[in-house]
Symmetry: C2
DNA sequence: ACATGTGAACTGCTTCACAGCG
DNA sequence: CGCTGTGAAGCAGTTCACATGT
């Protein structure tokens, strides 16, 4: 398959969340125009995005909401359940462990790890904080495919190396460092200070 | 000033964090090549990014670390202190309130708001959770410029409208909805489910 | 000699406009 | 007729290559 732009994938996620919303309301048909109005894009963009993966609409009519949403779920790889572990039992780890949006999308968080003896064994409702020393064997045993790194910056690369060696397929990094991973491992980063800096840049340069 | 690409701003943040790191190590000079090696970009890209704002290097020599980092701070609007309030005293709100990365960059989080009577008045270490009903008057009184939305999706737009009317300059949205704000307000969103979906898309389409 | 700064070439995402089909 | 699907055009961001200055 041709390489798909980052921006396209983000929009597909957006379309899906809109489709799920109107599907719950009982709407059965939609159009590229409807999908465009959310997310501030254009109908041509919507059709182009979808065209990379096939033709899902009917000319003159639009798209079937259940069909398109099921297609998008398949495209995004959401047809299966994903097993996720969270590394770092600090505040960010806690926020992510309980995040409802993950479950809704089929992400199953079933492990939280830390190296701090004071945290290991703590009961977090559904889960008990496990010892980071067992990370490799647990990834293999529980078949985790995705690891979320919620650790301090200076610990992140070492842990990334460990989960990669243990066979993880994707890493979502919340530590404020640029990680290096081999090309066969998917990597995405959320850097909250960087987001705030993008805001201050925009405010400073918008004549505010 | 000419419009600066989103991607350029993100890279400037990256360069700055690298500069601060080596500055702490006592390094006084660096080059576009050094800056490129972190963040997996190219030296030409680094020079182009900087060229939008001026000429900060010396030909044949490179860049002075303290000078370039101070220039970048100015460009990103970090020369001043920013007053930030967090709306939503759930787990994400808690994680953000204590996030060390914010303080390091001059962001002062001095208010947390919620509408739940069970949470209002709770002591969160430095702060006490305040009543969301007082939001408008507090934004004015405390001169908050940035609001972080860490509330459920269905509450987010209404709160965005309120903080905009109260004069906020920028919003960082953690709720999984697309917000609409007037053009003079800066908006950035972090959608964690979307990040995970970008991962599953990459994993699914990388032959993993 | 060396690394910056920058116009020019290139690549790739977005927008346009219309043919195609229900 | 209406809305999709798509080649072509347009535009923005990246890369190249070299002139420039130290």
């Amino acid at each position: 398959m041709r390489r798909i732009a980052e921006s396209t994938v983000r929009r597909l996620s957006l379309y899906l969340s809109f489709l799920e919303e109107i599907e719950a309301q009982g709407v059965t048909t939609t159009s590229s125009d409807d999908l465009a109005h959310l997310g501030g894009t254009t109908s041509a963009q919507v059709r182009k995005d979808l065209s990379f993966f096939g033709s899902f609409g009917k000319r003159g009519l639009g798209y079937s909401v259940p069909e398109l949403s099921s297609r998008l779920r398949a495209i995004l790889g959401l047809g299966r359940q994903w097993r996720v572990c969270i590394i770092g039992a600090g505040r960010i780890g806690a926020a992510l462990t309980g995040y409802a949006g993950f479950v809704e999308r089929g992400f199953i968080v079933s492990g939280v790890y830390d190296s701090d003896p004071a945290k290991i064994g703590t009961d977090w409702g559904d889960l008990i904080v496990a010892d980071e020393a067992n990370l490799e064997q647990d990834i293999a045993a529980n078949n985790y495919q995705i690891a979320v790194l919620a650790v301090p910056a200076d610990a992140a690369q070492k842990l990334a190396d460990r989960v990669v060696r243990a066979g993880i397929k994707g890493i979502l990094n919340f530590a404020p460092v640029q990680l290096a991973v081999p090309p066969h491992v998917a990597l995405r980063a959320v850097n909250m200070a960087m987001e705030l800096e993008a805001l201050t840049f925009a405010i400073t340069n918008n004549g505010a």
